[in-house]
């Protein structure tokens, strides 16, 4: 009984995110002209999955009590790279995909190395590396263009058996291949421990550096998968500064909505995925209610501000004012 309660408490954030998403999605679908058709689901899934990948990337770093403000730029960089190399014969395409994922790993590893071995603050370090990644993206694609293997792109953005959006299946595969093994490994446990209390994790002899490095590196990989999918959806690469910034911002919003604590040590990538879906659905709600699209940025910003302010409820549990100061 107590074990059951403990598990429920552990997953509370994720369940809350799922609930928010379901409610939002039901409102969205019931007001949509077409209702829940395979097409509507596919479009919604494709939009949501992009943010879900970037949000997963952000989660890994946030769990260690860090932050990666370059995820959006890695996302853009890999998009530009993919528009060059994911083309041609199946073998060339496969090599290209591997190259894109490798690029993401390298970007993440650079962030990790600077933060861990360079001992710089994650905020400043990743803002600066973000500028570098964006510069490289701009070098690759001074103007929007390029191409992608359209067979692969259509296969991964279409529908399986005519019903299930393939992108959702791909997301599930990535969760099973990247997140589940990571969160169950020693490194993953350590990442949580570091986020809760780095001195305590150190005293317990946990591999702190390895865990953090792995978290940053895998974050780069996940952002690269996101960038790959962006290329599959758009068929082009574009070094869009605003878009990179927006994805970084939205990833933080998704993480917060998904019940991941920004102080580290609490939450899961699954929650962040539902957070991402919920955030996307909230953005799309305006369209089904026939609002002017101009209001969308303000609406999303307001949702973000309210979502982060909800964290303030923890203040009611404070017994001693000194706990204000962490």
């Amino acid at each position: 009984m107590t074990a059951w309660r403990y598990r429920l408490a552990e997953q509370r954030g994720t369940l809350l995110a799922l609930a928010i998403f379901v409610v939002m999605f039901v409102i969205y679908i019931s007001n949509h002209q077409a209702g829940l058709t395979a097409n509507v689901a596919q479009t919604a899934a494709n939009k949501g999955v992009l943010l879900a990948f970037v949000a997963m990337a952000q989660t890994l770093v946030v769990i260690t009590a860090g932050i990666d403000l370059s995820v959006g730029m890695i996302f853009i960089l890999t998009n530009c790279l993919a528009s060059w190399i994911v083309v041609g014969t199946p073998a060339e395409t496969a090599l290209g995909v591997a190259g894109v994922l490798l690029a993401g790993l390298v970007c993440g590893a650079i962030n990790g190395a600077i933060v861990i071995f360079g001992r710089l603050q994650p905020i400043v370090a990743t803002i600066a590396t973000g500028a570098v990644y964006f510069g490289v993206a701009l070098l690759l694609r001074p103007s929007p263009g390029g191409a992608v293997n359209e067979d692969l792109a259509d296969a991964l953005t279409g529908r399986l058996f005519g019903v299930v959006p393939t992108s959702l299946v791909a997301l599930l595969v990535v969760v099973l291949v990247v997140w589940v093994p990571f969160s169950r490994s020693v490194a993953g446990r350590t990442a949580y421990a570091v986020g809760s209390s780095e001195p305590a994790a150190y005293m317990s002899g946990m591999p702190i550096r390895r865990a953090k490095f792995l978290a940053y590196t895998l974050a780069g990989l996940l952002a690269a998968i996101g960038g790959l999918f962006l290329t599959f959806f758009t068929y082009t690469g574009e070094a869009a500064y605003a878009s990179g910034n927006a994805y970084t911002l939205f990833s933080i919003a998704a993480v917060v909505l998904g019940g991941v604590s920004l102080y580290g040590g609490r939450g899961s990538a699954i929650g962040a995925i539902f957070g991402a879906f919920a955030f996307r659905t909230i953005g799309d709600l305006l369209f089904v209610f026939d609002f002017d699209p101009l209001w969308q940025p303000l609406f999303q910003g307001a949702v973000l501000l309210v979502a982060v302010s909800l964290g303030a409820f923890a203040l009611f549990r404070v017994r001693n004012r000194l706990e204000w100061f962490g």
Partner: protein, 328 residues
């Protein structure tokens, strides 16, 4: 104030010691190095006109970085700079379009809008205890949303008032651009606030350890709120100056100021964890960044190369002297 007389020798010693801060010295050495490199590339690099022009360009960043520094000294960060700059510029221009009263109130109104955003930031950080990075990102998004709704997604048509133009491009003292004078005034006020008032002492104390400052009887939450309000106001003021310089506001005019502002403060030797840093360092950082940008554009490096160089230089310089102590 009578106590200040007896403390003066100690204060002077402390100031000399601070002036020898390795970070600040390194930053000034890098400025000299950049000037030498630049003069090798083009002889006009050391001409007074060019240097004055650089100072004028630097003063916009300088005003914005002043606010950023105050927040960083607290151990916080203000990521809402990009759109607060735009809010300041757009609101000032919008006010200028409303007759004589608007013309008079244009600059105060723009700054006031920035202060408002800053107060929201400060309230979130100080009273709701949300990490500053998150609150300021969110208010940045809200400010962007408001401006998109207000302008309809296009560059606003209102142009800057003549007072704004005069402030940014005019010459009150012959040979010295007004923008530089503005920066000097803002900087002097900040130096005074940081070194000669209880507010400044409290800022450093909170940056070192907020708990200790609170237990010493400082109303830390009010100080944090004020600091964020000042930062917002200065960002908006920077936007007002920029609008005066370009004679109108533009959608993403502030985007180019977030990273340079943070970089200038941190390159100037201020600790991103708070509690340590001098205004002299920030001045050095601002000039350094401006010179670097100028040299890269004189060398006609494309935007991509500029971004890459920029990020690498900042990381490299931080690795040189901005590292956190090895824990345990």
């Amino acid at each position: 104030m009578s106590g200040a007389v007896t403390e003066r020798p100690a204060g002077r010693m402390a100031r000399i010691a601070r002036r020898l801060d390795p970070a600040v010295t390194t930053a000034f050495a890098c400025i000299l190095l950049l000037l030498v490199l630049g003069s090798l590339y083009s002889s006009s690099f050391l001409s007074p006109e060019y240097l004055l022009q650089q100072l004028k360009v630097a003063s916009f960043l300088g005003v914005i970085a002043t606010g950023m520094m105050l927040v960083i000294l607290l151990g916080q960060i203000d990521l809402s700079v990009p759109w607060v700059v735009a809010v300041g510029a757009m609101m000032a221009c919008a006010a200028a379009a409303h007759g004589t009263v608007g013309l008079v109130l244009a600059i105060p109104f723009g700054v006031l809008c920035g202060v408002t955003v800053g107060v929201v930031n400060g309230f979130g950080v100080a009273y709701l205890r949300i990490p500053s990075m998150i609150v300021t990102l969110a208010t940045n998004a809200v400010a962007q949303g408001l401006m998109v709704v207000y302008t309809g997604g296009f560059s606003p048509q209102d142009s800057a008032s003549s007072a704004m133009r005069w402030l940014a491009t005019g010459f009150l003292v012959p040979g010295v651009p007004n923008a530089v004078l503005v920066w000097i005034l803002v900087g002097a006020a900040m130096v005074f606030a940081l070194t000669r008032t209880t507010f400044g002492r409290a800022v450093y104390a909170i940056g070192n350890r907020e708990r200790a400052a609170y237990l010493s009887g400082v109303d830390t939450r009010r100080i944090v709120l004020v600091a964020f309000a000042v930062s917002g106001g200065l960002s908006a003021f920077g936007g007002v100056l920029l609008a005066g310089y370009a004679s109108k506001a533009a959608q993403s005019m502030g985007d180019a100021y977030l990273l340079p502002a943070i970089a200038a403060v941190v390159l100037g030797g201020a600790s991103i964890l708070g509690g340590r840093g001098t205004y002299l360092g920030t001045v050095a950082g601002v000039i350094l960044i401006t010179l670097l940008q100028s040299i890269l554009s004189v060398m006609q490096m494309p935007e991509a190369g500029r971004q890459v160089t920029y990020g690498i230089v900042i990381v490299a310089m931080l690795l040189l002297y901005g590292r956190a102590p090895a824990n345990r």
